[in-house]
Amino acid sequence: MADTAVREFLHNLRLLPQTFKEAWLRLGKVPESEREESQATFHNFFLHIHSVRVHLRTLSPTLTWGLGLAATASFVILTITGVLLMVYYKPSTELAYQSMKDIHFTVATGRFIRNIHRWSAHVMVVAVFLHMARVFFTASYKKPREFNWLIGLALLVTTLGLSFTGYLLPWDQLAYWAITIGSNIANSPRELTDALGITRWFDPGGFQRQLLLGANYVGEDALIRFYVLHVFVLPLVLLILVGVHFWRIRKDGGLARPEDPMGGPAEWGGERRPVFEPLATKTYGLMAVVKGRRATVNRGPENTVMSWPHLLWAEMAVFMLTVAVSLILSFYFDAPLKELANPAIPENPAKAPWYFLGIQELVSYSAFMGGLVIPAIAVLGLALIPFLDRRPGGEGVWFGTPGERQVAWQSFLFALAVTIGMLTFTINFGWLRNWFPDIHQLWIIFINPGTLLVLFFAGWSLWVLERRNSVRLAAVALFTCFLIGFTLLTYFATVHRGPNWEFYWWPSQWPVH
């Protein structure tokens, strides 16, 4: 310490780089001991959501395939590119399309940034779906993770909402007609209220559509609503939900995994380590701050490794892989931008965004059932899974209990056969309206290929429940059917539906007009 204030000031000034580094990085160097590594995790705002040690299974790429992280990474990419696009995008029907053109043609790398935004959005939707399938098939929703499964479901819905609201913003023909279809789906309860003749008094469909569009048509009000939802409301909701989702992972004891065998392979880095032996005089259960059956007593902490740097490597690798995939796709494939939106010229076929095409196929049978009831049943069914399947076992292992793999295969083939069969039948022979032209619409609302598919799947699941005497196996059967049905319908509507929603083998066979 210097003897005068001036000297002290100069001394501090000289040391500024070092003291600043210490204040900022705390440790000021790469952690060397496990103690320093744990502090690196624990004392960092961004890293402290991690536990200090992470189980080796968590790092196994074949357990998670990094799907949740990939979804998060896409969201980060989307936020960054989204903010850049907001600088140039003008949310008005007069200017939106022109600003898209200017982003393409004059903004430095604007086209590339928009491509990245588009492709990351697709990557995110796909990653979220696959992540859900991973969590299901590794039974990772089981107690105590039921609530996080619900948060995940909310995240799925929010992700679809974000993607859907972004779809309108370019204000081109693709956007305009996709959103018109989407808003008609919101309007679909009218099919039921019309059939019952009560639309004049009770019109939830019209209300939903008005709420979505702010008008009876897709116009300026709809554009502003979608813009506000897309750039503010839904990202905020997603951010909060992601925060809760991560926090719950930590509080629920990390990723789901089977119990380690007692004692455990106490070896890491060629060095045997002592197993933690419980003292008879202590009650360790009280010390457990996370949920779980026991504190990690009497078993090796040695199946875990330090989060810094191991988990960090894994996370950075998945993050950069997601970035690289988005960049490579964006480099070679431009995001579509069709003609300026024109309400007078319908796109034919007008198709919703791809992840809603399965629903649009169902809507083509019955708007009310396909657009509202069946999706609601699907979401409700997914939400109920962890509360109906409560027998522990198989957590954190792909098809972890006996018979799961077999039931999954059988359900795969069953759903494949039933869905393809139903589509083939409908295309070749039509449906009730073709056979009985004067039939009341209520018959078609309740008996159509969509509702029959749901019944077939539910029946199959109940049969598995009865026959295999296992709630988990019944859930596997139902979830597999849902996944296959969704995928097949989406594929079918994407590739094989042409003008007027007619069947065509390939888009090249669509009539030239």
């Binding site: 490597w313 998945v318 480099f331």
Partner: protein, 364 residues
């Protein structure tokens, strides 16, 4: 035991390298190797070769590689064509390759680029900055590809109404053929003129491409090709058409195609429009109204379309401030609509006032 993070480190290295490579490649592709930048560098070398006199050296010194555009709010256009077409107003560039060559003819002398831009005549996508996106050729998702060769005369018809234009012989021929030779107006309608039994032609030149059935067209899928083939043999293009085969020569078919292409809804503001001194109007306005307008002596006091007196307000300004209802009442009886004015009533009946209102609004 092996380090469990080992494969991730490899993956991180590979994906980070891929990210870096593609970021740099994209930055190069979009900011250094873009079509227009390559062309501008080539143009600079041409300028260097031609910088033999002080003026040439000055042009070279003021040349920067940058996006260029003409913004013309009245026409709703931003044209970036001059980003590549760099020599259109430089007479020294008559011998260099496109896109650098001097604009043909003396058209730019009468149509200053700052007032007209490019796409109001040539069509195409003015905001684009590459050959493909500018729609030099038919382009997916762009409804107005450039007009080529003789069909370009159609654009003259947007502003040059009714008059015989020596530079647009085909357009003039088309206008004559429409009424006199083939009497198309017996059946077809343009604005308020002509029959109502057949498809209206008022905006046929800007009918969306999607509205044309190209399944019987032999040539490329463009408006001019559809129209030309249709004039040569209507039933070959629209099998159940009731139109009698007019048995045209190729020249007549081209001339009428030019006329059709000139009938668009892309109507320039009224001060761009040159109205006929005399003769048949064909396009935007009904001649009756124009005659009425002059016959009732409006132009004695009012300014309109660059003519008329200066005693009363410019009608163009009034039109932009008032609605059709006000105009109608003004033509019927002007005094109550303009308190304190000494304008005298002109004795117009309802249909005449209506006609005038429509005319003034349509020209505006």
């Amino acid at each position: 035991m092996k380090d469990p993070a080992q494969p991730y480190r490899g993956l991180l290295l590979v994906s980070s390298l891929a990210t870096l490579v593609f970021l740099v490649a994209a930055a190069m592709r979009e900011n250094y190797l873009a079509d227009w930048q390559v062309l501008q560098r080539e143009y600079r070398s041409i300028l260097e070769a031609k910088a033999t006199d002080p003026l040439g050296r000055e042009v070279l010194a003021s040349f920067h590689i940058e996006l260029r555009q003409v913004s013309i709010p009245p026409l709703g256009r931003v044209d970036r064509c001059i980003t590549c077409h760099l020599g259109i107003d430089d007479p020294r560039m008559s011998d260099v390759r496109q896109p650098f060559r001097t604009h043909s003819g003396d058209l730019l002398k009468h149509h200053s680029i700052d007032r007209f831009g490019c796409t109001v005549c040539h069509l195409g996508q003015g905001r684009a900055t590459s050959y493909r996106d500018a729609a030099h050729q038919p382009l997916a998702f762009w409804d107005t590809p450039m007009l080529k060769g003789q069909y370009l005369q159609a654009s003259c018809g947007k502003c040059h109404l009714g008059s015989v234009l020596p530079q647009a012989a085909l357009l003039s021929l088309g206008r004559a053929l429409y009424k006199e030779e083939f009497a198309c107006d017996t059946c077809h309608r343009i604005n308020d003129e002509g029959g109502t039994d057949c498809p209206e032609l008022t905006h046929v030149g800007s009918k969306p491409l999607r509205g044309f059935d190209f399944s019987h067209v032999k040539g490329e899928r463009t408006r001019p090709e559809w129209l030309f083939e249709h004039f040569k043999d209507p039933q070959a293009i629209v099998p159940d058409s009731l139109m009698p085969n007019p048995e045209m020569t190729d020249e007549q078919a081209v001339a009428l195609t030019v006329l059709m292409l000139s009938l668009t809804d892309d109507i320039p503001p009224f001060d761009y429009i040159l109205r006929p001194a005399a003769g048949v109007g064909m396009g935007l306005e009904g001649t009756d109204a124009a005659a009425l307008f002059e016959g009732k002596g409006c132009l004695l006091c009012h300014q309109f379309a660059g003519q008329g007196g200066e005693l009363a307000p410019d009608l163009a300004k009034l039109v932009s401030q008032r609605n059709a209802d006000w105009l109608f009442r003004h033509f019927k009886n002007p005094r109550p609509t303009v308190p304190g004015s000494d304008i005298s009533p002109r004795q117009l009946d309802d249909s005449e006032a209506n006609e005038l209102t429509r005319y003034v609004l349509s020209v505006h």
